[in-house]
């Protein structure tokens, strides 16, 4: 909302400093985004009088204009077609700073010889003054403009640009801002109830109004003016509108806009002669009907939209935009002026459904006060009579099926102070409320105040609203600062938070960089990353995605991690290790989706030699497996790795991670096709673990084990067996024997002298007892049994 300060001053009768006012407004909830000074750069421009206009000796299109600038006369070459003797104009002398009409840039006016004639200055257009883009003709000032006055003093303006919050429709009006400002400065603004003189027939004899949808239209007021002349508005009116950010159209439309800006009450003027049946009907639209608004666009209506109709049909979309069929045009002579209140939600619905937000709809949807319809109607009628002539019908029509008198809000001083943490005496509270225009009655019996808010404030309805008003007037800075005094409430912190924290730290320690990706992705990316032409888990789609590559919610961390690896590979030739810990979204029937927390990690090998001292080896499956094992060991669980068939991972190079018989994740080499789809052209390894599933498997797992008191005995054995035998088969057999506390595979060998089809696996077995020191004999006896069992079970032979 742009508020010209000169307009505010019509209602604030005390002097004030603009910067101070802006600060007060901002602190009290309406931020002043900027203060602009129109005319602050008009140096050397003043009001001038055109004494004579002569033709230019060397150019048909140019004129020689003699200007009285108050301090002498000057001869100026002028190209404007509308210059005429007797006009008050804006005269810029040499040295003035203006906007160059051609370049649009500020420029200092220099003496110029135009077609052989010296021009001592310039008669300015609006564009040259930076007022608008109008540059066809010069700006003609009202006759009353005092010659010689610096233009800054005559036309200059200070404009506040306010950011109005949705709860304050009153702040979308000059009077509302004036009232707020007055309250904040301790000097209430003065807004006089306007009146007009209706000299025509009684309005009831000319016009009838039916409100068929009173739920959507609590009040409808109207006046009627005949015999008007549509023309341009007077300069002062146009200037105000322009300074407030609106475009002048014609005198009638300009008045409706002017009064809307002044009162916050939107008005609409219908061409009365175009209405059928001298009747206004306020009703819902017919579903699917098409209506042409005055911007010429066809609008498809729904049955929930409120329409203004005459006896034949629709003439306006209530509160949003008028229709082309009843528009005020240059030859209009009679107008019906509408000032009404509509249901805010209904207007919001209509305006967002049609994608049609107007200055009017913005005010209605915030719930402008229905008490303002009548003063605004009176003011507009009076102004139209002033600027467009004509005769108003006697009286107004005021239908108010939904207008209820303001109910007082009951709130006690004690309650106010206990919510604010203050000690304001009752008199101070009453004073503050009265400043705001409230009427306050003290009820000693109930020790409550009955606060009736002023008619222009539709947002004060609860005790809490009154509390805020007190705080605003007193200033938020006036409220003390205290710490929460009560004891800290009982807490039951989720183990997930600390678990995630530990997990992140472990991942960082394992060399992974944390990344965060969008929660949104697309079918194609999921399908490529998972190597599933048809997704096995259908993601949740957004009704209206911002972009098609963010059309659904991720069901997997893979697309994000794969893209991240590929994009970093463009500049990083060392190894890349990335992880993300985040939510995936799995649809779950009719309810909200499941949101398991996942951790995913990806590694890509160094592409160049990493260190001068040794060869660099590319990563393989076991690099990542080692990291996953370390991670899980850190988190206190002991996983097993089972065969898996994940479509996105390379067959034969992947495993399911199982903890306590529960599959919690997968690990493997990314399938080449999946990788290539993300422009990854190197072997990369990926794992993911569902930590929502993992967490319960870890809790309560830890218990102290005494450190063994007796020494351990180690034995190294090398076993020759078939290539097909798996490490775990060996491990499981050995684990079945007593005294073995650790089995560590430390070498695998194939080739001579190991026969073809066989391999040699070397293990270090650690034997230890919690009861005694083991003798070599005792260990050897167990070892023999182990070897016998490995031989019978797996055909493994001890290699000598």
């Amino acid at each position: 909302m742009k508020v010209p300060v000169s307009w505010l001053k019509e209602f604030i009768k005390v002097p004030f400093e603009v910067g101070d006012l802006a600060h007060r407004l901002t602190m009290a909830g309406t931020e002043v985004a900027s203060i602009s000074e129109i005319g602050s750069d008009w140096d050397g421009v003043c009001v001038g009088l055109v004494l004579a206009v002569d033709s230019h000796p060397n150019a048909d299109r140019l004129r020689l204009v003699t200007v009285d600038s108050g301090s002498g006369t000057a001869e100026v070459v002028c190209g404007a077609p509308n210059v005429a003797p007797g006009q008050k104009i804006c005269y810029a002398r040499i040295g003035a700073c203006l906007v160059d009409g051609h370049t649009g840039e500020p420029a200092v006016l220099k003496p110029a010889r135009i077609r052989g004639v010296v021009s001592s200055g310039m008669v300015c257009s609006e564009k040259e003054l930076g007022l608008s883009d109008e540059h066809e003709g010069i700006l003609v000032l009202p006759e009353s403009a005092p010659v010689g006055t610096p233009l800054r003093d005559y036309l200059g303006e200070t404009v506040l640009d306010l950011e109005v919050t949705p709860n304050r429709p009153d702040m979308l009006s000059v009077t509302g801002v004036a009232r707020e400002a007055g309250a904040l400065m301790g000097k209430p603004a003065r807004v006089v109830d306007p009146e007009f003189a209706g000299t025509g027939k009684a309005i009831e004899s000319e016009l009838a109004i039916d409100i068929e949808a009173p739920d959507l239209c609590p009040r409808y007021t109207a006046s009627l003016i005949k015999g008007i002349t549509i023309s341009d508005s007077p300069e002062w009116l146009k200037r105000r509108l322009v300074n407030a950010g609106m475009r002048p159209i014609n005198n009638v439309v300009d008045v409706t806009n002017y009064v809307m800006l002044e009162y916050g009450q939107p008005l609409h003027a219908f061409d009365f002669d175009k209405l059928s049946g001298a009747r206004i009907i306020v009703r819902r639209a017919r579903e699917g009907q098409v209506f042409v608004t005055l911007d010429g666009a066809e609008r498809k209506l729904t049955g929930e939209m409120l329409m203004i109709c005459d006896s034949k049909g629709e003439i306006a979309i209530a509160g949003v935009m008028g229709g082309a069929n009843s528009e005020v045009v240059p030859d209009t002579t009679s107008i019906l002026l509408e000032s009404a209140s509509f249901n805010p939600a209904s207007i919001h619905y209509t305006s967002s459904k049609l994608g049609l937000s107007s200055a009017a709809s913005q005010r209605f949807e915030r719930g402008q006060s229905p008490f303002l319809t009548l003063p605004a109607l009176n003011r507009a009628t009076q102004l139209i009579l002033e600027v467009a002539g004509g005769e108003a019908a006697q009286g107004v029509i005021d239908m108010a099926p939904g207008l209820n008198p303001r109910q007082p809000v009951l709130v006690s001083t004690a309650r106010i102070n206990s919510l604010l943490g203050t000690n304001y005496p009752e008199e101070e509270i009453i004073d503050a409320l009265v400043l705001l225009g409230c009427s306050v009655k003290s009820c000693p019996a109930s020790r409550e105040l009955a606060v009736t808010p002023p008619e222009w404030r539709s947002d004060i309805n609860l005790g809490a609203d009154v509390v805020e008003e007190i705080a605003r007037i007193k200033g938020y800075g006036d409220i003390p600062m205290t710490m929460l005094a009560k004891s800290i409430p009982h807490q039951s912190p989720s183990p997930m938070l600390s678990f995630k924290h530990r997990l992140r730290e472990a991942m960082v320690g394992l060399g992974f960089q944390e990344i965060l990706n969008w929660s949104m992705t697309n079918t194609g990316a999921l399908s490529k990353a998972l190597n599933q032409p048809e997704l096995s888990v259908r993601p949740l789609y957004l009704k209206k995605p911002m972009t098609l590559d963010q059309e659904c919610l991720r069901t997997s961390l893979r697309p994000g991690l794969f893209s991240a690896l590929a994009s970093n590979r463009r500049f990083e030739d060392s190894e890349i290790q990335l992880f993300e810990l985040g939510t995936v979204y799995l649809p779950a029937g009719a309810g909200l989706p499941e949101e398991p927390q996942m951790v995913g990690g990806i590694i890509g090998s160094p592409q160049v030699k990493r260190h001068w001292s040794e060869e660099t080896r590319p990563f393989d499956f076991y690099d990542l497996k080692g990291k996953v094992e370390a991670l899980l060991a850190y988190l206190g669980v002991n996983p097993s790795f089972e065969p898996s068939e994940d479509s996105g991972l390379k067959p034969g190079s992947q495993a399911v991670v199982v903890v306590k018989h529960v599959p919690v994740g997968v690990i493997g080499e990314v399938d080449q096709q999946a990788g290539r789809a993300f422009e990854i052209d190197e072997p990369v390894y990926y794992f993911e673990i569902d930590i929502t599933r993992l967490l319960p498997l870890t809790v309560g797992d830890r218990q102290y084990q005494p450190i063994p008191r007796y020494p351990a005995v180690v034995r190294d054995i090398a076993l020759v067996m078939d290539n097909t035998v798996k490490h775990r088969q060996v491990e499981e057999i050995i684990a079945g024997f007593p005294l073995v506390v650790e089995t560590r595979l430390f070498d695998i060998y194939t080739g001579k002298p190991v026969p073809a089809g066989k391999k040699s696996m070397a293990y270090r077995l650690t034997f230890q007892s919690r009861k005694k020191t083991l003798t070599d004999d005792a260990v050897d006896r167990v070892l023999e049994q182990i070897l016998a069992r490995l031989s019978s079970g797996l055909g493994a032979v001890l290699r000598r």
Binding site: G29, T165, P166, P344, A345, H348, Q362, S418, L419, L420, G421, T422, L462, D465, E468, A471, R472, G477, I479, P480, M481, T482, M483, L484, K486, P489, P493, S494, M496, L497, H501, R504, M507, V508, G511, Q513, E514, L516, N517, S519, M520, L540, L542, K543, K544, P545, M546, Q550, L553, A564, E572, Q577, F579, Y585, P587, A590, E595, R610, W612, S613
Partner: protein, 345 residues
């Protein structure tokens, strides 16, 4: 005897000064500290001396031995240093790069969220998390933002293409962390103090200052007798700990439908110290968070009697903080996964 030890000392010290190589130093060691050296002979012969003399001479000889050993060590080090410089030697080049050992780094958002969580946790707020896909009831209606309320326009919503829930509720991506206010009130009776960090979503086109997904942290305290002064004090204390004690704080009125009175907190601009600069839009203040006393209708929606209990709530966008702190000019970098960016934190 004493004189002999003294002479020995002078001789050894003098000859050490002339030594310039490790070979020479070795000979010196053999000569003065070796098994056949005169000093050793003195020490060996101690047993033959009378007890009193043995103590005196023994002390002196042992002291000399210690002194010469120390001088030897000193000289060895000096020679080693020289040798490294002149020949390159066989010692390590301590300037060569070590074998790479990787440590990753946490994402800056993780770091900030952790820091914020810790501060509030130390003030007795419990950290809780909630669903990112929500019902419109929790995201809007229960927070006093009915359908067709203009306040919804500032929270453009991603609606999920799913059938309405049992209650006719519509599914959406939460536009703020505030729905957890209601969920917590429904589950837990006052007193309560929580903070909720998490992802939120807004239907906004992406540019250097806007992204469709970002993080918020929400706070809520409800008890009997909680005041706006408590709100101010708590947030001021937060600011002191997070931004430092030298930054002033400003509270002004603002509007959020789920609080009344509504509050906006700003801290003094860290760049211009309140003078006004480009970063703070010449105002001298940086808006940090929205807050307020919990709206009575919100308490009611959470099943809490507003005549008995009161509370305050606050919410802040988290990305803003590292943006300001590190002078980052493009918010999209957080979600670019670019190692050149992420490794800086």
């Amino acid at each position: 005897m004493n004189q002999q030890i003294d002479d020995l000392r002078n001789q050894a010290v003098a000859s050490l000064k002339t030594i310039a190589s490790s070979d020479e130093l070795n000979s010196w060691r053999v000569r003065y500290l070796g098994k056949k050296s005169s000093l050793m002979a003195v020490l060996k012969g101690l047993g033959e001396l009378p007890a009193e003399e043995r103590r005196a001479v023994g002390g002196q000889a042992n002291q000399l031995k210690k002194e010469l050993e120390a001088l030897l060590k000193e000289k060895e080090e000096a020679l080693a240093a020289v040798s490294n410089l002149s020949t390159g030697g066989t010692d390590v080049d301590i300037t060569l790069p070590g074998r790479p050992a990787n440590l990753g780094k946490l994402h800056p958002m993780t770091l900030v969220l952790h820091e914020l969580g810790e501060i509030f946790a130390s003030m007795g707020f419990e950290i809780v998390e909630g669903p990112e896909v929500e019902w419109d009831y929790y995201n809007f209606e229960a927070l006093n933002i009915p359908k067709e309320h203009p306040a919804r326009d500032s929270m453009q919503t991603f609606w999920v293409d799913a059938p309405p829930g049992e209650n006719g509720w519509e599914m959406l991506l939460r536009t703020h962390t505030s729905p957890m206010q209601i969920r917590v009130m429904e589950k837990q009776k006052p007193p309560l103090r929580i903070v909720v960090p998490g992802r939120v979503f807004r239907y906004e086109a992406t540019d250097a200052t806007h992204i469709p997904m970002f993080h918020q942290i929400e706070g809520l305290a409800i008890d009997k007798g909680i005041t706006m002064a408590d709100l101010k004090g708590t947030l001021y204390e937060f600011s002191r700990r997070f931004f430092g004690t030298d930054r002033r704080v400003r509270f002004r009125c603002d509007f959020f439908p789920f609080v009344e009175p509504g509050v906006e907190m700003a801290v003094e601009c860290g760049v211009c110290k309140g003078e006004g600069c480009r970063l703070c839009g010449q105002s001298g203040w940086i808006e940090i968070l929205g807050a307020g006393m919990v709206h009575p209708r919100v308490l009611e929606a959470g099943g809490i009697d507003p005549d008995v209990y009161s509370g305050f709530a606050f919410g802040m966008g988290v990305e803003r903080i590292p943006l300001l702190r590190y002078g980052i000019d493009d918010i999209r970098l957080f979600y670019s996964s670019d190692l050149r960016f992420l490794r800086q934190f």
